[in-house]
């Protein structure tokens, strides 16, 4: 049951009607969904949420689309796991992993695309589109298929086969001869004279609201309170700002008592404009040309970078730049301790966590959540050199020689 009042410019506060638009005509600021919170407060409760479906749509009062006709392949309500093994390794007694790789297309992007595609149908679009390098491609293609919409997913032709095939299986991928910037430019031109719902362009105000569900779930799954620390992988910064927004909406609506969560930015050395701005006390991240193995974080000019730095400062959080060499280490550490195979972005998160503990930013008993936003199966190349296997002949002797022998010797 949507309670949307308007779209409102995050910068100058001008209101706009609920349409597929995303930029303020006056000051070029981003538009954000503005809700009637008084109306929401009348009916929203822990019980009303718990009575809802086991997807992001249990929070539909705080989402900009109706769950009655949601494009739903099961996004959300992913496991929040107590990470005692990893905690022991790092010296933390109250560590949790939010495993968003457990979403239908194996990343948090299902949350945002479920909302964007539902809204696209409400707006009578018949085509849903995106430019992507991976996770968003799969999520958009899958939701487009479920919705029965024409789907146009544009990706660079030289992407890893896992990402290409993982999106193309849904039937609607266009490979573009060019790099990611070329793909983006093409999509902007295509969008100018076609009535398409580009999930991360003209649908962005609605799309990005889907990420708030991660914040809501953390609070609900922890037993209706906000954690003391959250570590978030940052690309555009949208997820970072929306997790914060979700926790704060819950607090202001009385669903939880308070939201004093310290928000921590995690970025890889090869693309760290937001963390760098935090460290250097700059309000505006300076754009960079990305060169990182964490490709899902490779946004050199992050749209919500400014807001992310501001939130990290406001909450007493931090910004961490993880050396590229520690990304695979972080992936291995999580895999070997908790049985979770994350993508490179998760490796950045785990290595950030390790650094924050060493620096004393996170105390041993403080409740901490690390966000794992995608699966390692999409970025196998990243760990090819750091994982070892043995090969034997199909004989016991060979097993004894190679495996047992290796173990003993």
């Amino acid at each position: 049951m949507p309670n949307v009042q308007s779209l409102r410019c995050k910068e100058c506060g001008r209101d706009y009607p609920e349409e597929p638009i995303y930029v303020c005509d006056f000051c070029f600021g981003p538009l954000e969904v503005n809700y009637d919170y008084d109306e929401i407060a009348k009916t929203l409760s822990r019980e009303s949420i718990q009575d809802g479906p086991l997807t992001i749509w249990r929070y539909d009062q705080l989402l900009p689309a109706s769950r009655d006709n949601a494009v739903n392949i099961g996004a959300g309500m992913t496991p929040l796991l107590k990470a005692d093994n990893l905690g022991r390794e790092l010296g933390l007694n109250n560590l949790w992993i939010k495993n968003d790789a457990a979403n239908p297309t194996h990343s948090f992007k299902d949350r945002v695309v479920s909302v964007a595609s539902t809204k696209a149908i409400e707006f009578d679009f018949d085509t849903i589109a995106c430019a992507s390098t991976g996770n968003l491609a799969g999520a958009t293609a899958a939701h487009g298929a479920k919705a029965g919409m024409n789907t146009m997913v544009f990706i660079p032709a030289d992407l890893e086969s896992g990402k290409v095939l993982g999106a193309a299986i849904f039937g609607s991928v266009v490979l573009v001869n060019g790099n990611y910037d070329d793909v983006n430019r093409l999509c902007s031109e295509l969008g100018d004279d076609r009535r398409w719902a580009f999930v991360n362009i003209n649908m962005r105000p609605y799309y990005s609201e889907g990420s708030k569900s991660l914040g809501y779930e953390l609070a609900e799954q922890l037993g209706w309170h906000a954690p003391q620390h959250v570590i978030v992988p940052v690309a555009s910064g949208s997820l970072f700002t929306k997790v914060y927004k979700g926790l704060n909406e819950f607090a202001s609506l009385g669903i939880i008592d308070s939201a004093d969560t310290k928000m921590h930015i995690a970025q890889p050395f090869g693309c760290s404009p937001v963390a760098k701005a935090f460290v250097e006390k700059q309000a505006h991240p300076k754009p960079v040309v990305p060169d990182t193995i964490a490709k899902s974080l490779a946004i050199g000019s992050p749209a919500d970078g400014y807001y992310s730095v501001s939130i990290a400062n406001k909450t007493g959080g931090t910004g961490t730049i993880v050396p590229e060499s520690e990304i695979a280490e972080g992936m291995k550490l999580l895999a070997e301790t908790e049985g979770i195979f994350t993508e490179t972005a998760g490796g950045v998160v785990i290595s950030t966590l390790r650094r924050l503990v060493r620096e004393g930013v996170i105390g041993p008993d403080q409740e901490t959540v690390a966000l794992i936003t995608g699966t390692g199966l999409k970025t196998l190349e990243a760990i090819a050199d750091s994982v070892e296997t043995v090969t034997i002949d199909p004989t016991v002797r060979s097993f004894d020689d190679v495996v047992t022998g290796a173990a003993v010797g």
């Binding site: 910068e11 100058c12 995303y22 930029v23 303020c24 005509d25 006056f26 000051c27 070029f28 600021g29 981003p30 430019a131 992507s132 390098t133 968003l136 990611y180 983006n184 999509c187 902007s188 991360n200 362009i201 003209n202 962005r204 690309a235 555009s236 949208s238 505006h284 300076k286 754009p287 946004i299 000019s301 992050p302 749209a303 919500d304 400014y306």
Partner: protein
Amino acid sequence: MAVTVKIPTPLRKLTNGETSVDTDGSTIGAIVDALELVYPGMKERLVDDSGELRHFVNIYLNGEDVRYLDGLASAVADRDELSIVPAVAGGLK
């Protein structure tokens, strides 16, 4: 200092459709003030109430983002080229 300023599509209503205009000023801030005199309404589109460049307005001085120079205080030389470019507020990806 005579400089040429490139005007983006959304602001061309203020310049009567001109895509670039010539003006004078020794700093970016002075040029913004000079533009306001000739094209009333321009300044509030570029600068916020506290006098800072709006977060989603980029001004490039000979291709350099002035935010990473001295902002509105950045010095401008004769025949420099200025471009006003709205940030892609929505971003991509």
